[in-house]
C-alpha cells in the first residue's frame, strides 16, 4: 500500500510537470496556430541556463530563477515569435512544422556548443531546497521540490483558465484563432497577443524544464532533456490542443502510468526501462487512434504561399542524364574517401526523395523517415544477405523485401492518423520514430519469441554488406556510387512521372482540398494511405542503401533528430522537387561533413588561431538550423531560385557556354593531374557562384546600352543619379501619409464626372 501511495504521488508530480509543458504548447497553438516543436528545446535551454547561474556561477536560487523565468525565457519566446514565427502566416503546415523543428535543432546545437557534453565533471542539477528537505505525508517521504512542482501545476491550470475566461486579453487570445482579421476590425492587436502568448509559452516550457530535470535524477543531456518535454505532446494532444482540463487529465494519466509501470511490471521484463521511456509516445499513438475524425472543411480552400512548378518529363530526363554524367566524371578524378561521402549523401538523397513524394506531392508529413530506413536495414540484415565475411552480399530479394516490409509498417503507422489533419500524422510518425529508437534498436540481446531465440539488433551494431544483383557486383566504392546515383535518377524520373499521371493529379488535388476530392468520389484515406506506403518503401530502400554504404550501422544513425534534420534540409532545398531532395542529401551527407573536416584540418594546421576554427566548427553545426528558421520568408525552397537562375542563364547563351566551358576545362586539368582535387573544388565553387552574377551584370549593362534604355534607379539613388520626378514625390507623399504639401496628389475634382461606362 505504501508503495502504491509513493508511486501515485510521484506520478502526480511528474504529471503536473508534463501539464506545465503541455499547457505552454496549448497557449502558443491557440494564439498563433503553430505547434511549437521547439518547446522541449526551450525547456532544455532553460534548464542548462539555470544550472549555469545556480551551480556554474553560484548565484542564489531566487535570483537565478528570476533571471531565467522572469526575464530570459519570456524574452526568448517573444523574440522567437517576432523574428521567426510571425513570418509563417499563410504557409502550409509543413513549413510551420519545419521551422519550429529548425528552431529546436538550432537550440540543441547551441546547447552542445555552449555546454560541452563531454565535460570532465557531470553537471548535477539539484532539487529546490536540496534533496534532503523531506516531509512525510501518509507515511510517505516527499521532497519539497515535488510538492512545489505539483502545486505550481495546479496553480498554472487555474491561472490559465482564469486568463482565458475571465480577462479580455485572454478571450482575445482565443478570438485570434477564430479570425485575426475580425479581431483587428474590433480594435484588437493580434500580433501583440501572439507575442505575449509566445512569451508565456516559453515561460511555461522553461518552468517545466527546471522542474523536471532533477525529478528524473540523471545528469544533464541536451537531447534527453528535449525529448523529455516532447513527451508532453501526448498530453496536449489528449486535449486536442484546445481543452486545458483534458490536457491536465492526459498529463496526470501519463505521469501515473510512467511510475506504475516501474512499480508493478514483472521483474522478468528486461525491457521495462525502454518501455517506460516510450510510454508517452505509445500513448500519443493511442490518443491519435481514439480521437474523433476531423470534419472535412470545404469552405476554406487552403491558400498557401508555397508554389512549385511541375517539371516536364523531358526536363526530368535531361536533368537525370546530367546528374549521372556529372557524378560519373567526378568519380574519375575523386579519391576514395570523398567518394564514400558522396555516396552517403546520395543515399540520404534517396531517403529525402521519399519525403518529396509524400510532402511535396501529397502534402502529408513524415517526421521519422530514417526510422523506416532502420526497419529496412533490420529486415535486410536478417533475411537479405548471402555469404559470410568479406564475401557477403546483399541480395536483390532482400532489398525488395525490405521495401515491402517498410510499406506495410508505414501503413500500420499512418492508418490511425490519416483520418486527421496533417499535424496529427506528423506526430504519429514522430511517435513511431521515438518508439523505434527506444524499443526496437535497443534490442541488442536475444529474446525467445514463439519458441525461437531471436535478436533484433545484435550487439548494437549491424554489419550490412553491399548488394550484388546477378553477375553485377556493387562492392567497390565506384560501382556503389554509380548504383545509388542511377537509382536516384530513376526514382526522380519516376517521381515526375507520378506527378504527371492521374494518380499524381489526384494527390495534388487532395493536397489542395480534401473536401473537394471527397465530393468527387475519391477515397481520401485510400489515397493518403497508398502514398504513405509508397513513400515508406522508398525511405526503406534509401535506408538500406545508406547502411550498405556505411558498412556498419548503430542505432544513432537512425536517430529522430537526424530524420528531422533531413526533412528540414529538404524543405529548405525545395520539398516540391527531386532536385530539392538531391540538395538535401548532398548538403547533409557531404557539405556539412566536408566543411567540418576541412575546418578540423585547418584547426590542426594553424594551431595559433585555433579558437577561430573551433568557433567555426561549432557554427557549422548550427548552420542547418539557421537556414531552416529563415524558411518563413521563402517557403518554396532554394531550388525555386536556382531554377529561376538557370532559366535566366538559358536566355544568356554566352554566359552559359562560358560557365560550362570553364567547368569542363577544370575537369580536364584535374583528370590530367595538373590541378589538385582541392583546387578543383574551389575553382568550381567560384565558377558556379561568382561567374554567373558578375557576367549577368555585365551583359545587362551592355543590353541597356545597346537599346538606349536607362536602367531603373534604386530608391536610394534617386536625386543623385537622376533628378526627382513628380511621380517620385507623389509616391513619397503616399508613403509618408502627408497631404498638406500641396504637391500634385491625385485629388478628386468635385463636379468633374466620374468614369461613365462606354
Amino acid at each position: 500500500m505504501q508503495q502504491f501511495v509513493q508511486y501515485t504521488i510521484l506520478g502526480l508530480v511528474l504529471g503536473g510537470v508534463y501539464f506545465i509543458a503541455a499547457s505552454g504548447l496549448v497557449v502558443t497553438y491557440t494564439t498563433s496556430g503553430i505547434f511549437n516543436f521547439s518547446q522541449g528545446a526551450i525547456a532544455m535551454l532553460a534548464a542548462f541556463t539555470y544550472w549555469q547561474f545556480r551551480w556554474g556561477w553560484g548565484w542564489p536560487a531566487p535570483i537565478a530563477l528570476f533571471v531565467v523565468l522572469g526575464v530570459l525565457a519570456p524574452a526568448l519566446g517573444a523574440v522567437l515569435y517576432q523574428v521567426v514565427m510571425k513570418n509563417l502566416r499563410g504557409t502550409s503546415e509543413v513549413t510551420k512544422i519545419v521551422v519550429s523543428v529548425g528552431v529546436m535543432l538550432g537550440f540543441l546545437a547551441l546547447a552542445t556548443w555552449i555546454w560541452n557534453p563531454t565535460a570532465s565533471s557531470p553537471r548535477r542539477f539539484q532539487k529546490f531546497f536540496g534533496a534532503n528537505s523531506i516531509v512525510e505525508i501518509f507515511g510517505v517521504r516527499i521532497t519539497w521540490h515535488e510538492i512545489i512542482s505539483f502545486v505550481l501545476a495546479l496553480g498554472i491550470a487555474a491561472g490559465i483558465r482564469f486568463l482565458f475566461v475571465r480577462t479580455r486579453s485572454g478571450v482575445a487570445m482565443r478570438a485570434v484563432v477564430d479570425d485575426p482579421e475580425l479581431l483587428e476590425l474590433n480594435g484588437g492587436r493580434p500580433e501583440r497577443l501572439a507575442t505575449i502568448s509566445w512569451a508565456g509559452g516559453a515561460f511555461l516550457a522553461a518552468l517545466a524544464g527546471i522542474l523536471i530535470t532533477p525529478i528524473t535524477g540523471s545528469s544533464m543531456s541536451a537531447n534527453a532533456l528535449t525529448l523529455l518535454v516532447i513527451d508532453a505532446f501526448a498530453a496536449a494532444m489528449f486535449g486536442r490542443l484546445k481543452s486545458l482540463p483534458r490536457t491536465f487529465i492526459g498529463a496526470i494519466v501519463l505521469g501515473l502510468t510512467n511510475y506504475y509501470v516501474v512499480a508493478y511490471s514483472p521483474s522478468s521484463w528486461t525491457w521495462t526501462s525502454a518501455f517506460r521511456q516510450s510510454i508517452p509516445m505509445i500513448m500519443l499513438f493511442i490518443i491519435l487512434i481514439i480521437l474523433p475524425q476531423d470534419r472535412l472543411r470545404g469552405a476554406t480552400v487552403l491558400r498557401t504561399r508555397e508554389r512549385f512548378q511541375m517539371p516536364t518529363m523531358r526536363t526530368a530526363w535531361i536533368a537525370a542524364l546530367v546528374l549521372i554524367v556529372v557524378v560519373f566524371s567526378l568519380q574519375t578524378i575523386m579519391q576514395p574517401s570523398p567518394m564514400k561521402t558522396l555516396a552517403y549523401g546520395m543515399t540520404l538523397a534517396i531517403i529525402a526523395l521519399s519525403l518529396v513524394l509524400l510532402t511535396g506531392l501529397a502534402g502529408e508529413i513524415n517526421l521519422a523517415a530514417l526510422s523506416f530506413g532502420a526497419i529496412g536495414t533490420i529486415v535486410v540484415f536478417h533475411f537479405g544477405t548471402t555469404g559470410t565475411g568479406l564475401d557477403s552480399r546483399m541480395t536483390l530479394w532482400g532489398i525488395i523485401l525490405a521495401s515491402l516490409v517498410c510499406a506495410l509498417v508505414g501503413a500500420v503507422v499512418a492508418l490511425p492518423a490519416l483520418r486527421l489533419r496533417g499535424l496529427y500524422l506528423a506526430l504519429a510518425t514522430m511517435a513511431f520514430g521515438v518508439f523505434v529508437s527506444k524499443m526496437v534498436l535497443s534490442e541488442g540481446n536475444p529474446r525467445r519469441l514463439f519458441g525461437r531465440d531471436f535478436t533484433i539488433f545484435p550487439g548494437g551494431t549491424l554489419r550490412i554488406p553491399r548488394p550484388q544483383v546477378g553477375p553485377v557486383d556493387f562492392n567497390s566504392d565506384k560501382a556503389f556510387l554509380t548504383l545509388v546515383t542511377v537509382l536516384f535518377a530513376l526514382l526522380a524520373i519516376g517521381l515526375v512521372a507520378i506527378r504527371h499521371s492521374g494518380y499524381g493529379r489526384r494527390l495534388a488535388a487532395m493536397k489542395d482540398s480534401p473536401a473537394a476530392c471527397a465530393t468527387l468520389g475519391m477515397s481520401v484515406v485510400r489515397l493518403k494511405l497508398s502514398v504513405f506506403m509508397l513513400s515508406a518503401a522508398v525511405a526503406g530502400l534509401g535506408g538500406v542503401l545508406m547502411s550498405a554504404q556505411l558498412g556498419a550501422v548503430s542505432a544513432e544513425r537512425f536517430d529522430i533528430f537526424l530524420s528531422l534534420s533531413l526533412l528540414m534540409v529538404t524543405v529548405v532545398g525545395g520539398i516540391g522537387y527531386a532536385s530539392g531532395a538531391l540538395m538535401a542529401g548532398l548538403f547533409l551527407g557531404c557539405s556539412l561533413i566536408a566543411m567540418t573536416n576541412t575546418l578540423t584540418k585547418l584547426n590542426v594546421d594553424y594551431a595559433s588561431i585555433q579558437a577561430i576554427f573551433a568557433f567555426m566548427i561549432s557554427a557549422v553545426t548550427v548552420l542547418p538550423a539557421t537556414i531552416g528558421i529563415t524558411m518563413g520568408k521563402n517557403p518554396s525552397g532554394a531550388v525555386t531560385d536556382i531554377v529561376k537562375g538557370l532559366n535566366d542563364m538559358k536566355q544568356a547563351k554566352p554566359l552559359m557556354f562560358t560557365v560550362i566551358g570553364l567547368e569542363v576545362g577544370f575537369w580536364l586539368l584535374t583528370a590530367t593531374d595538373v590541378l589538385t582535387n582541392w583546387n578543383f573544388v574551389i575553382l568550381t565553387a567560384v565558377n558556379l557562384f561568382l561567374v554567373p552574377p558578375i557576367g549577368g551584370a555585365i551583359m545587362k549593362k551592355r543590353a541597356f546600352a545597346k537599346f538606349g534604355i536607362l536602367p531603373p534607379t534604386p530608391a536610394e539613388f534617386i536625386g543623385i543619379d537622376r533628378p526627382y520626378t513628380q511621380g517620385d514625390l507623389d509616391e513619397m507623399e503616399i508613403v509618408l501619409g502627408l497631404d498638406a504639401l500641396g504637391v500634385a496628389a491625385p485629388v478628386l475634382h468635385e463636379g468633374e464626372p466620374a468614369h461613365a461606362p462606354a
Binding site: 475580425l182 478628386l748 464626372p753 466620374a754
Partner: protein
Amino acid sequence: MSATISDSHLSNHDGNGPLLELSGVRAAYGTIEVLHGVDLVVPQGSVVALLGPNGAGKSTILKVCSGLLQPTAGEVRVAGRVINGATADQLARLGLCTIPEGKGVFPNLTVRENLWMATMSGVSLSDVEEIAYARFPRLGERRKQLAGTMSGGEQQMLSMARALSVNPALLLLDELSMGLAPLIVANLYEIVAQVSEEGVSILVSEQFARTVLGIAHYAAIVLHGNVTRVGTPAELEDELSAAYLGS
C-alpha cells in the same frame, strides 16, 4: 443627370464636408490589380450604397477603407485626414466600425465574449451588453452560448449589435444580406436606417440592390474595379439592370 455627389448634394445634409473620401485608389491582391482608381465620397451622416455584381470590387473597396488592405496608389481620407498606412486596429479604435462579409462573429466564443471583444474600441462591457440585449432580446437569452452554434440570422444580429454599441463615426457594412432570409435582411436594414438617423455615416456594399436602395441616400455602381456611376437611388434606378446585366 449629375453623375457625382456634387456640392449641392452635400449641402442637403450638413456641410461639414465628406466623412470618407477615396481618390484615385488603386488596390491589388499580389500582382493582380482589382481597383483601378476609385473615387468615392461619403458625406457626413449619409448612407452610401455600393452596388454591383459579384467580383466588381465592392468588398475590396471596403477592405481598403477599413485598413485591412493597403492601397497601392491614391488616398483614403477620413474626416479630411489621410489614413493610408493606418492599420485596421488603429482605425477601429478611432471610431471606424466594420462588419465584414459573412458572419462577423468569433464562432468559438460565447455571445457575451463576442461583445467583450467589441469593447476594445473603448466602450465599457456593461454598456455594450445593455444596448445589445435591449435591441436583440434573443442575444440576451443566449449570452452563454457559443456564437458558432447560433443561426445565421442570430449571428448577424450579434455582429450588428457591435455596430450599434460601439457608437462609431463611420460604419462599413459588407454584404449584410449574405445567406439570410429576406425577412431578416429587411429587419437588419431597418436597424441600419435607425443607426443612420443618429448621425452615423454608413458605407454599405450590397449585391442585391433593391434591398438597400430604400434606405440609401446615395448609391454608387461599381463595375470592373471602377466606380462607374454615382447618384441618388432615384437617379440610378433605371440603370441598375443595365449595370448588372451588362450594357
